[in-house]
Amino acid sequence: MQAPILSRMADVIGPGDLAMTTEHAVKLALVGAVLVFALGLAVQPRFWKLFWKPAEAGSGKPWMTRGGMLVAYGLLLLIVGGTIPDAVKDTEHWPWSVYPMYSYMWVGKQYDDYRLYGVLKDDPTKEMSLFTDERYLQPFDQSRMGAILTEILSEPGRPGLHEGLLDCLTRYEALRRGGRHPGPELVKLRLYHVYWTLDSYGSTIEKPDRKVEIDEVSLPDSAKS
């Protein structure tokens, strides 16, 4: 029985074994101090009385019922308290979050992303980027499409990549036929890894440094207009 408990303690305290680093010791001491302080307050009935019986209004009626206060504190604990583990571990459990948007530094002008290009039916020698109009890939936006492609490509065997690209192409065509976007008719879809040098005048937007083709799909006959 003891071994699992010790093992669990070791997991909590730090990786490997129970040997604590100074950093761990300081952190534990701080956490311990806070816990002792909280415990010290928690065992005093006078302390709780203050919270449970807020000052009375002029009419002599209490400001709140206990049930109402329980609900208010419960929600506070759920929403704000629920965020604390994520804040400590820097993780995300939507709808709890640490809101990390734009928090990582961007260094240098080199930028690369996975992009989808369509091959035009009218001129198969031409390609157009499907990232230039957010209506082409809806309900995906450019950011989300880039992220999901990155995720699929990082997985061993790239599961479902081909099927996913086909889904994007058939949806593009279905939306076009439905008048949901003004794009031209496409026959193929290509996935590229695109590399840019960012320019503060935007002159390289349409002129990436290079494009590396990763995959290509053709529109199945059943999906053609």
Partner: protein
Amino acid sequence: MKTLVEKWNRFWFEPSTADNLGLARILLFGTMAIFYISTPYIFPGWGYHQTFNEWGGVSAVFWRPIWLFRTLHLPQFSVGEITVLDAVWKVSLVFSAIGLFTRFSTAVSFAICVYLFGIQNNFGRTHHLEILLLWAFLIMTFSRCGDGWSVDRLIKTARTGMGPGSEPREVSGEYTWPIRLIWVVMAMIYFAAGCSKLRHSGIAWVTSDSMSYFLMRPPYHVADAEPLLNWGLWMSRHPFASHGMAAMGIGLELSYPLALFDRRLRYLIMASGMMMQTGIALMMGPNFYQMVLCQLLWLPLDRIFYWVQGKFSGKKTYAMIFDGSCGLCKKTIAVVKSLDLLSHVEYLDAVNRWPEILARFPNLDRDRCLEDMHAVDEAGRVRVGFEAYRGLAWVLPLGWVTLPVFYFPGAAAIGTVVYRMVADGRHRGGCALPASVGSESQSAETTSGKS
């Protein structure tokens, strides 16, 4: 310690009336109902962000369930199923806004929004636009936000006859904590975003060229929406501007909790937050319109309303003469008083104040006034029965929305019949007319100046 706890209690539970919370409910659910219902039609270009059903048609190979969906085993519903959910949700938003079945409709708004807001995050990236809204809906669900400014309140008034002026206004901490909790959540969100920047990048987030690159990237189609202007590129070329923007951004995010403690700072931070979110939409793309609207909850909506009320109220332009001995009439008057936000209506009890009424309106007949609702407008025109209510719709600001119904072809004929049935019913239902009034009901008519 005692002082600190007193301050804590005062912050959360200081008694207030139901007005601020009721107005906050209308603002929150009303603006969101308008936003989510109208956007796909007004801005079809990016309206798909506000229609969730298309996620049901996306190939399952893209499905990467987030923690909540995994834990609750929530699947990717079909387009049809999400369409139904979406429709129910929008109806619940409207019901929540007007305060009809408030507890139930706010609960439905919250429950469904967890799925609708969440489903898109199962496809590769988590966006944070709607989190504040989701928590605000949850808080409203558990609050007594339907106690003021709601149809539920009107129904209660119609049932009991107890409305404004007939009972002391209830003050309670129940009307305070929900708004304060939304404030805390808002402050927490911005503060966490600021901390996240410091944690991952440190002060270099401001001192490096990072912001300049952030501003340079949006035209390369990287964000969830295209920037509305190309000012970001201009700013990226001017280090002073981009460093300044970074410093102001992170400074504002970290200072958000101060809004909880100081009223003047609160409004400054609120306005700055709205400008920052708008600036992000203009220069970088992501649009946090929902969060911009939520910022309005920092305002003392009740005091703003009282101020507007004080500006426009006071002059009585419509006198309603009713049977003060009749329960139904008194309940009706209580409802009208609730709707009479600008206090333009004068209520005259024909039983207890007849000499005064006669002195002011000598052409009125007491028996007729006891039998049918009478009203006299500013020009001295007398309206009776259905016409009295139709005239009332012009006087009450909330009545303006009913004008199309009142003036729809045939509405007068149907309205008169319905009025007659209800008026006759009240006599049979216990509101007996005084002995001087004949037992035979007289039809409602409009006298001079009938419109």
